[in-house]
Subunit: 145 residues, 2 copies
DNA sequence: AGGTATTGGTTGATTTTGTAACTAACAAGG
DNA sequence: CCTTGTTAGTTACAAAATCAACCAATACCT
């Protein structure tokens, strides 16, 4: 527990991360909200299913580190909008396999393209090396939980 | 709007930022919650007043990019706990100058030391150069809003 | 001065999130 | 089988965030 009298809270990494996360999410958030009326949890579930394909809520939970109630509610809304189907598992009748419908898949591809575009814009002031290092550091920090 | 068919959403910077922000905030959040029963908004107001000294809610709002209702409620709670005093401004009678009390100041210094410590632990797997670059990039991303 | 717009700050209603408790299904051990 | 423990997912309730409306003070404009 060493003291550091020169520490400036404006440099506190969790604080900076939160500021950067909020600022960088804002515009994209408006996009999926405006286009599909989605919340962040819904967008995340959508994109997990888009990337990994058919999977259960539990698997999304493991991979995304979202809380299971958030996922449960997001899945419900996406199912209401016919963006995904729920298919009870034969092996474990508690679990359901979730899978994007054609509409869900289209929304996923649309938002994925928008995200790629947005990401490029966001990072355009940085070099490729800086961006790669940033991603790598963020992944490590995220994995520390 | 150029297409990038190779883009992986797991590399989407806003997503990584959110994951890293959440993971890195978690432990520290528990600390100020346990020690002072504070919410994140309260801790932020506290530390803005600790850093900048006497200032109004509006100034905190500008500097922190928190919503004014969150600040208003955080200020109320901190005032209830006698962590700050509210002093109506002479120049503008709508505004109040906020200032930490001795107790508020002590809490600030305590948490500030804990933050410094936590920050060091968080970044100990990275080089000083990497950490400096990370901070710099986060500041730029945060300022983009 | 008088009218209108803007600003600092608060409040209440609505939405979203987090916490716990719960149901139903499975699993392991005897 | 029967008990105990665990797991997938949902629901109910409490805590918190967001949004719109609001009040009072100030600024702007003529």
């Amino acid at each position: 527990m060493m003291e550091n009298p020169d520490f400036d809270l404006r440099d506190f990494v969790p604080y900076l991360l939160n500021q950067a996360a909020e600022a960088s999410s804002l515009e994209f958030q408006r996009l999926y909200k405006a286009r599909y009326g989605m919340l962040r949890a819904e967008w995340r579930v959508l994109f997990h299913l888009g990337i990994y394909g058919r999977m259960t809520a539990r698997e999304i939970c493991d991979r995304s580190a979202m809380h299971k109630t958030k996922i449960s509610r997001a899945v419900q809304k996406l199912a209401d909008r016919r963006f995904l189907t729920r298919d009870p598992s034969d092996l474990d009748r508690r679990a359901e396999h979730l899978e994007l419908t054609a509409a869900g898949s289209a929304a996923y591809r649309d938002l994925m393209a928008a995200a790629a575009d947005y990401d490029a814009r966001l990072m355009q002031g940085f070099t490729a090396e800086e961006t790669a290092l940033l991603r790598q550091m963020l992944r490590r920090l995220a994995a520390m939980r």
